[in-house]
């Protein structure tokens, strides 16, 4: 039922642009490094610097420096693009009037990066989140996840992608109210076809990892907001996704709990190398981010690396253009 309905449609244009071409030129070296010796790894920063510059140029951000090169050097995956969005536009019809939620967004996100998308309310953060997560279709433009054009996927492949490759975290936690914490976490594993034993073992392990092993048999209604968000984080990791998308994960939490959740996300990002993309209003998120993307009115204002951002919290929102 509804087979085609859910499949992504949109631009089928997968032609690489100039910047991509340049990036791909460096690819053989990079690919070699995956299996390479320590010797080849030393060459890596330079290669990566080139690739980053190309990627950055497409976004209009400043060239990568040795810092990101060095960071990428100890992690080969650092230079591989897990998400590439090309000219994403999204227009909603509201009462016959077009609402332009996104007006052409380009963004490339490396594997293992921690990205924060900031911007005022209504700027299009959640819309961008939905496009990257395959939860909605762009009106125009293409999103590549791990080099796969999402517009080309049918409903079954899309469901597989959502199940295995992407984990979702929401502002309102969105746990299934009738299920216990443990059952909430095993649900994506059920969808992935894991055995009951695997489910329980992994579920317990994940709950321990996010620090609520002792509440695993509680229903969401019996947990605090912070605890529910921890369950949601554990659930997002259930099938070892490559990307975790978090839409305002701290939006419904107080400052202290929000900080704990941010620290937890950062810890998971560091430990398992999962790419984290958050849409947020929360300045506390800036400090743990590798890059920060500012959007306003459906466009990317600027993209900055953490070390380029002067963290004197509070003055940041209005930052330079």
């Amino acid at each position: 039922m509804a087979r085609e309905n859910d499949a992504m449609t949109g631009s089928k244009d997968g032609t690489p642009n100039a910047a991509e071409g340049a990036m791909q030129a460096t690819a053989p070296v990079a690919a070699g490094d995956a299996t390479g010796t320590a010797g080849t790894a030393i060459v890596n920063p330079a290669t990566n610097g080139g690739a980053s510059t190309n990627g950055g140029a497409a976004n209009g951000s400043s060239p990568a420096t040795a810092v990101s090169g060095a960071r990428a050097a100890d992690n080969y995956y650092g230079q591989e693009y897990i998400v590439r969005a090309k000219n994403i536009k999204k227009t909603f019809e509201v009462g016959g009037q077009p609402v332009h939620a996104l007006r052409g967004v380009d963004i490339d996100i490396r594997r293992g990066e921690y990205i924060s998308i900031m911007g005022p309310s209504g700027s299009g953060k959640s819309t961008l989140f939905n496009m990257i997560g395959g939860l909605d279709k762009p009106t125009e433009g293409t999103v590549f996840i791990d080099e796969v054009d999402m517009a080309q996927l049918d409903a079954f492949e899309l469901a597989w992608l959502r199940c295995r490759k992407i984990g979702y975290i929401f502002q309102t936690f969105n746990l299934i109210p009738v299920m216990t914490a443990l059952e909430n976490i095993t649900l994506p594993m059920i969808f992935a076809g894991a055995s009951t034993d695997e489910q329980l073992e992994k579920g317990r392990k994940l709950l321990e990892q996010v620090g609520i092993g002792h509440r695993m048999h509680n229903k969401p209604s019996q947990l605090s907001g912070g605890q529910q968000q921890r369950v949601a984080i554990a659930r997002s990791l259930a099938n070892d996704p490559a990307i975790v998308l978090a839409d305002e994960p701290t939006g419904n939490l107080d400052q202290k709990t929000g900080k704990e959740i941010i620290d937890l996300l950062k810890k998971l990002n560091k430990e398992s190398g999962v790419t984290i993309i958050t849409a947020t209003h929360d300045d506390k998120m800036l400090d743990v981010s590798d890059r920060i993307v500012w959007v306003s009115d459906g466009r990317i204002d600027k993209i900055k690396r953490r070390d380029e951002v002067d963290i004197t919290l509070g003055t940041l929102e209005g930052g330079v253009h």
């Binding site: 087979r3 591989e80 409903a155 492949e157 597989w160 295995r164 994506p188 969808f191």
Partner: protein, 201 residues
């Protein structure tokens, strides 16, 4: 980028879950939301109780060798159809409410990798279970209501036929419940997850 050597990542097709999993979750949903389930089931129950009482009356009259006037038979038929229609509308209504109430949950499940047909299965199973138990209880109530005072006829009653009617009632009740839920279930399954998430209920 390893694309040159490795090519794009392999995307598989999501598996359809075995029926047993859908069954487990559906049963779970019913037991947890028992109040709502009972009301939905009660609609079916009443409709089927009426149907069964008509059947049982016919049997009792046959057992007592009373000829049923054709006029009464048609009237009964109409009453039965009306009562079943009312039951169907009632079930559709409660399934629609149940779906609306759970938009977010449906969206979440789709984010976690649920296929559209799993969502449909879930709602059909839920409705089917309610229909089954509702009509079973309804049929028993209808039969008891009519036949208990007429225990003098029990000896001459066609019990084989009685069981057949009972079974018929349960089948009709379950079937109608599933039909009634089909629309809401398909509607729920087709929602893009993003829309489901946005709805504030």
């Amino acid at each position: 980028m390893a694309t040159m050597s490795a090519g794009p990542a392999k995307i598989d097709r999501q598996i359809s879950l075995p029926m047993s999993q859908a069954m487990r979750i559906a049963l779970r949903n019913i037991t947890i939301r028992l109040g709502r389930a009972l009301i939905t089931g009660a609609g079916t129950m009443l409709g089927i109780a009426f149907l069964m009482s008509v059947f049982a009356n016919t049997l009792a009259q046959q057992a007592a060798n009373i000829e049923i006037p054709a006029q009464q038979a048609t009237k009964n038929l109409w009453l039965v159809i009306m009562s079943l229609l009312v039951a169907v509308v009632g079930i559709t209504n409660s399934m629609l409410m149940s779906v609306t109430e759970r938009y977010k949950e449906i969206g979440t499940m789709k984010c976690l990798g649920a296929l559209d047909n799993f969502i449909v299965k879930l709602f059909l199973l839920e409705s089917g279970f309610l229909g089954f138990f509702g009509s079973l209880i309804g049929a028993i109530i209808g039969a008891v209501f009519v036949l208990l005072p007429k225990f003098g006829l029990w000896g001459s009653l066609d019990w084989g036929r009685f069981l057949l009617y009972l079974l018929g009632c349960v089948v009709i009740g379950s079937f109608l419940s599933i039909i009634a839920a089909l629309g809401p279930a398909i509607r729920a399954s087709r929602m893009p997850p993003a829309d489901a998430m946005r709805t504030e209920v």
